[in-house]
Amino acid sequence: MAQVNTSRSDRLVDAVGNRVRRARGFVDDTDPAALAVIAVMTASILAALVGFLAVSDWTIVPFAVFLASAAVGWVRYQAETAYTIALMMTVSTILILGLIIVFIFRESIPVVQYESATVFGVTVPGLRMFLQPNWDAVSPPIRYSMVPMIHGTVMVTLIASAVAAPLGVSAALFLSEIAPTTVREVVKPGVEILAGIPSIVYGFIGFTVLSPWASDQFQTTGQGSYLFVGIVVGLMALPTVVSVAEDALSSVPESMKSGSLAMGTTDWQTMTSITLPAAFSGVSSAVLLGVGRAIGETMAATVMLRGVPRLTEPLVNVFYGQETLTSIIARNYGEADGLQMDALFVAGVILFITVLVISIGAQYIEWRMYEKLGGEV
């Protein structure tokens, strides 16, 4: 154990040493004047960032300094400036993700404290949100339970996955293995366009056409059902599944497929016994990403659901649609303030974490697959 620890700390020291050496090399190789410009740029952009975070009216000053120094650098030392700016832009992607995490978590803290619950003598913040199913922002006791919305999101996601996964994988097989080139050239843009249809348009059609129809078919009181929201969201997640799964399927080396075909198998046998197993992890990560899309889908759910945060009775009653984690935010942000607004942020945090975990999981699976196939990542 100790051995492992030392080797790990050794590696860390090595890595840090490397970094320092490289930085020193860069400093040595670069013109001092260019270094000065880079230093000014870095310092001023950092100052601008701090000013922006501190809601200062003076943010514009360091930002102007940054623009000026960048302009000077661009004219005099273009290569170094370009490198620095590209690095800053790269860092900004991480920074944005970090800011999202910090700000949505920070806003949700008060309600997490409010909804503390004591279990076995230990007070756990936020636990009451998951122990009882009551959301009531108006009449005391005021409670912000996430249970009904989690239930709604789970129902919608399950139905959506049941729609998107088989149809999506089958369409991906069609596009990557079966379709003749001309058909492919028509279907592929079609799938892309399907991804482009705005969710509010889906929601509008669902609201005006599907919901009344469903309410009539199942003789429910009022309109809005998880079943049809799920189906619509599934259709919206379909293009994601198709395009990611298609990429995975076409990354299976041609030699494997032709090797199988040379044994006298049919195309379909090759697909089921060679292509699909080889691309299995890629296909499952496609399904995962589709699930992530379905969880985060907002507008269709908002306009098609009832907007009453409670559990359906019984729990499997998919013919009634109450509220999902996404739709409660979109519906209530307007009149919410104080604790209720913070509760909406909790819904956002749950969504964000779930989808982030799914996204990282999908990437891990995909990375494993490419490693196995020996392709480049």
């Binding site: 922006f52 009216d57 290569a79 370009a82 590209a86 832009m89 790269t90 900004s92 991480i94 993700l97 800011l99 999202i100 949505i104 089958s170 369409a171 097989l173 069609f174 079966i178 379709a179 028509v186 279907v187 079609g190 799938v191 399907l194 482009g196 249809i197 705005p198 509010i200 348009v201 509008f204 609201f207 005006t208 078919q217 199942f218 003789q219 009181t221 379909l238 198998t265 195309d267 379909w268 046998q269 990403l289 985060g296 889908e297 907002t298 507008m299 306009v303 009775e313 019984p314 009653n317 013919f319 996404t326 979109a330 942000y333 942020f345 964000f352 982030l356 799914i358 996204s359 990282i360």
Partner: protein, 542 residues
């Protein structure tokens, strides 16, 4: 492939043409049933009425029974040696599960409802019947296994319809606290639809003569049907919005010299020869026809702002990741972060904008906050697509440039970026199409009222001001709440009946808004896809 295998069969086996024809008829019958089921589901075919002189339900039942008998007959004929086929010893586990699923539903439904055995009895019934179907599929030789359970399912469904056990008046009250019932209007089309799919699968297998070739046929029928349905769905969706939206869009449409509003093009004042009030007007009390011009302009500015923010950031990050950075911990973190941003739900971006941007830009919803929020959403798309485009630039290009002795940055600027440009442009256009239709993020950051008067159409360029107080530059237009097409549509939907006072025909107004939004978004997609084809063709020619 299918054609080749067919000639093959005919050459090897003498007189299979007739049986082939029977199987082909069965496939055709499944297609007819499928179409009828879809039509009935959308109430294009009346279940209580008659079709071709026969009661619709009776007709469906008759066709299903015929299809089921044909499927069983084919399987039995093959087993008894009347039909020459090449079956495997077993139909396989997948086919077994495929056949077990509908029988589980049938068994569960009959045991719990018809026989009244309750939930536990239903579960037992489902397991027993499903298990039998599974065994019947897996255990016998393939020709029998893949036809008998499915054929009997079809025959059973058909007979239930024929005998009127489930007729047009059938109703199953689920007895739940929130009442819901399964009606015949829903059940009959859905049962027919799935039966037709199973029937088509089984008959396609028979048509291929079972074995590897039969399975190939069976699977291809389903996969082709799926692809066709997706394309058909897209067409129906777009066509429906167009048909519903055009009347609203063209209210007050006029064509002819001097009919349109005046605009200034290149300093010359012109009167447009066409007038489409819906896209040229705002909403005002005195307007003859109301329109959504402010929302269109809002969307345009929103997109411009997002692109100005996200494209340089994204392309710069992609340059760094592909050209400068070595693969390692840092690039991995950036990759995870971009993919994480890509999959972050749009409403979370909205919340973030609400918490982070709004306090920093005038404490109210504003166009600028909307632009930046959407820019953040666009950023990961730009990074991912630009990276892909740069990675696909062959290394020979870079080596050739480096061999000339130029610096790395010069190589990037004059070799990599131009070569990657088509990919970047296409990616950006497609990404813009996506964010232009986003409602959730702007809901919390930017959007104002339902109807915006035409006088409030934003004019970003015209409202820059210089001030003496700290920010020194001010632009009231950027800091005001405005509308955009997707938000406008959402507001119109949620406003419900209250619209009547402002617009004469609220429904036509809504559909027309949806149509304009769809046209705006899809034209981005059309341009993006066309650019890709253009560049691809040019690459092929040179």
């Amino acid at each position: 492939m299918a054609g080749a295998s067919q000639t093959d069969t005919q050459l090897v086996e003498g007189n299979t043409t007739q049986t082939d024809a029977v199987a082909a008829v069965a496939i055709g019958l499944s297609a007819v049933l499928f179409a009828l089921a879809v039509a009935a589901m959308f109430e294009r075919v009346d279940l209580t009425g008659t079709l071709a002189g026969v009661q619709t339900v009776t007709l469906l039942g008759g066709l299903l029974t015929a299809l089921g008998v044909a499927v069983i007959a084919f399987g039995a004929g093959s087993r008894l040696g009347y039909v020459e086929t090449e079956p495997d010893p077993s139909a396989g586990l997948i086919a077994g599960f495929g056949a077990a699923v509908p029988w589980v539903v049938v068994g569960g439904g009959v045991a719990s409802q018809t026989l009244g055995l309750g939930t536990a009895g239903g579960a037992v019934g489902a397991l027993v019947v499903g298990g039998v179907a599974f065994a019947l599929t897996v255990l016998p030789r393939e020709d029998l296994g893949s036809t008998l359970p499915l054929g009997s399912l079809l025959t059973l469904t058909g007979l239930v319809f024929l005998t009127g056990v489930i007729g047009p008046d059938w109703l199953w009250d689920l007895g739940w606290a929130q009442t819901a019932s399964i009606t015949a209007e829903f059940f009959i089309p859905v049962a027919t639809l799935f039966s037709a799919l199973y029937g088509g699968w089984a008959s396609a297998k028979s048509y291929g003569g079972f074995g590897a070739r039969g399975r190939h046929m069976g699977a291809y029928v389903l996969v082709y049907l799926n692809a066709l349905s997706i394309v058909a769905f897209l067409f129906i969706l777009v066509a429906y919005v167009v048909v519903q939206g055009v009347p609203g869009l063209l209210t007050g449409f006029e064509l002819g010299l001097g009919t349109g509003p005046q605009t200034t093009v290149l300093g010359v004042s012109v009167t447009l020869p066409v007038s489409v009030p819906f896209v040229m007007n705002g909403v005002a009390l005195l307007n003859d026809f109301q329109g959504v011009l402010p929302a269109i302009v809002g969307t345009v500015w929103l997109v411009i702002g997002a692109v100005v923010l996200a494209v340089p950031l994204g392309v710069g990050a992609a340059v760094f990741l592909t050209e400068y950075a070595d693969r390692g911990r840092f690039t991995q973190v950036v990759e995870v972060a971009t993919n994480g941003l890509w999959s972050t739900p749009s409403i979370v971006f909205g919340l973030f904008g609400f918490a982070f941007l709004i306090p920093r830009f005038g404490n109210g919803k504003s166009l600028l906050s909307g632009m930046i929020t959407l820019g953040f959403m666009l950023l990961p798309l730009v990074v991912i697509t630009s990276r892909e485009a740069m990675l696909s630039v062959p290394d020979e290009y870079r080596d050739a440039s480096a061999a000339l002795g130029v610096s790395k940055w010069q190589t990037i600027r004059s070799v990599v970026l131009p070569a990657a440009l088509p990919g970047v442009v296409t990616g950006v256009i497609l990404g813009v199409g996506r964010i232009a239709g986003e409602t959730a993020p702007i809901l919390l950051t930017m959007a104002g009222g339902t109807f915006i008067p035409g006088s409030q159409t934003v004019d970003v360029l015209g409202s820059f001001q210089f001030t003496a107080a700290p920010p020194f530059v001010a632009n009231p237009a950027l800091l005001e709440a405005t509308s955009a097409l997707p938000y406008q549509l959402f507001a119109l939907i949620t406003a419900g009946v209250g619209l009547g006072s402002s617009v004469s025909d609220p429904n036509a107004f809504r559909w027309a808004t949806a149509l304009v939004l769809l046209v705006v978004v899809l034209s981005f997609y059309a341009i993006g896809i066309a650019t890709r084809y253009y560049f691809r063709r040019r690459l092929k020619h040179t």
